[in-house]
């Protein structure tokens, strides 16, 4: 009887998010590549090479709340300067892995909640914009983008 009751409950609840099934992974860096002093450089979230990418896995029927921690400046490797970076309201795109999923553009500066309808997992691509000053120190600059995901 106990086993029957448990099976009934499992059927009613649907697939449960076992602890090992939720996943957030940083896949690809947001890479602006060569930047010219004094010339702003933007990477579109749809850029297949230079956009940043995260992978999120949950379950169909579940919800995820996404909150980015975005840098406002990149730091010169070895010291000696900062490079301003900004993110526009359309700089993030989420798309489920199911064939029928379509991309959703959202504002990476604000918290977003998604209900997973057709895909249990999805990718988030992130664009951005750096604005080097005319006297920006040459060299490599680096910063960290963090994606915080809460699974419901």
């Amino acid at each position: 009887m106990l086993r029957c009751a448990c099976l009934l409950l499992l059927a009613l609840l649907g697939p449960l998010p076992l602890l090992g099934q939720t996943q957030v992974v940083g896949i690809r860096d947001l890479n602006f590549g060569p930047v010219i002093r004094g010339v702003p450089n933007a990477v579109a979230p749809t850029d297949p090479v230079r956009s940043g990418q995260f992978y999120v896995r949950h379950r169909i029927g579940g919800s995820v709340q996404l909150r980015f921690t975005l840098p406002t400046r990149l730091t010169r490797v070895g010291g000696g300067g900062n490079l301003p970076i900004s993110f526009a309201t359309t700089d993030a795109v989420a798309q489920g892995t199911a064939g029928s999923s379509v991309p959703v553009t959202f504002n990476p500066n604000a918290t977003q909640t998604f209900n997973l309808v057709t895909s249990a997992d999805f990718n988030i691509r992130l664009g951005g914009r750096v604005s080097p000053a005319a006297n920006q120190a040459t060299g490599s600059y680096r910063g960290t983008v963090t994606l915080n995901v809460t699974f419901f």
Partner: protein, 277 residues
Amino acid sequence: MTLRRFFLPVVALLAGTQVLAAQGVVVAPHAVYLDHRTRSAAITLYNPGAEPVEVSISAFYAYPVTDSLGQFTLETPDSVTAGMPSAAAWIRAFPRIMTVPPLARQTVRLLAQPPAGLPDGEYWSLVLIAAKGGSLPVSAGDTAGISVGLTLEVRTIIPLTYRKGAVVTGLALSGLHATPAGDSLAIRVHAERQGSAAYIGTARGALRDAAGKVVGSFSEPVAIYYQAEPTFAIARQGLPAGRYQLTVEFTNERTDLMPEQLLKGPPVRDSLEVTLP
């Protein structure tokens, strides 16, 4: 919000960038380095103007020397012989000819296809970027008379360096001297490259009075491919007559180049006692 919703992102690249009423291109980096392992590099062209710019890329062999006045100029051999470290013949640009739209950028990949058995060493070329844009505005002429206007075109030349195997560089200084020239002190020094690679760095000089206080200085990027005798200047306006100590130092430091591109060598220094009238 669900992932069913469809929204095409539209990102205005470079929105807000100032459009210049000029024609030409921005070229970055301003010096290209390749090595035998990767054999490729890229330059970025950016059109800051309001008109499309036609760009063509070519390579030729030349290297900087100094003239009789100590000014840097290019030495272009009449012909490139086997003993010259020229990379010009085997550097290819992709694309070689292109049109860069207004406020757009174009990446040009430079690929090296060196001959088999290329000995270890450093090889040089110059990359010429010719930009031809829309005509600049000239005044409307009197259709019954004669009106004259000339438009401007630009070409940019940047150095390219190809390294194979271990290469080293250094510098030997000799013949430091200083001569009053107008309101400046003209300083010249003979610099001869050591090792197997060009000496790319910065020349700095300081003029100190008897109390050791710096009363004048200079700092200039230098490129010594073989040998050179460059002229530097320190303003001497307001300096009282007397004896001064001049020090000159060459280092491999450059703020405009990536540290990994610079060959390291010990700083070289020379000094001289100078008497100002």
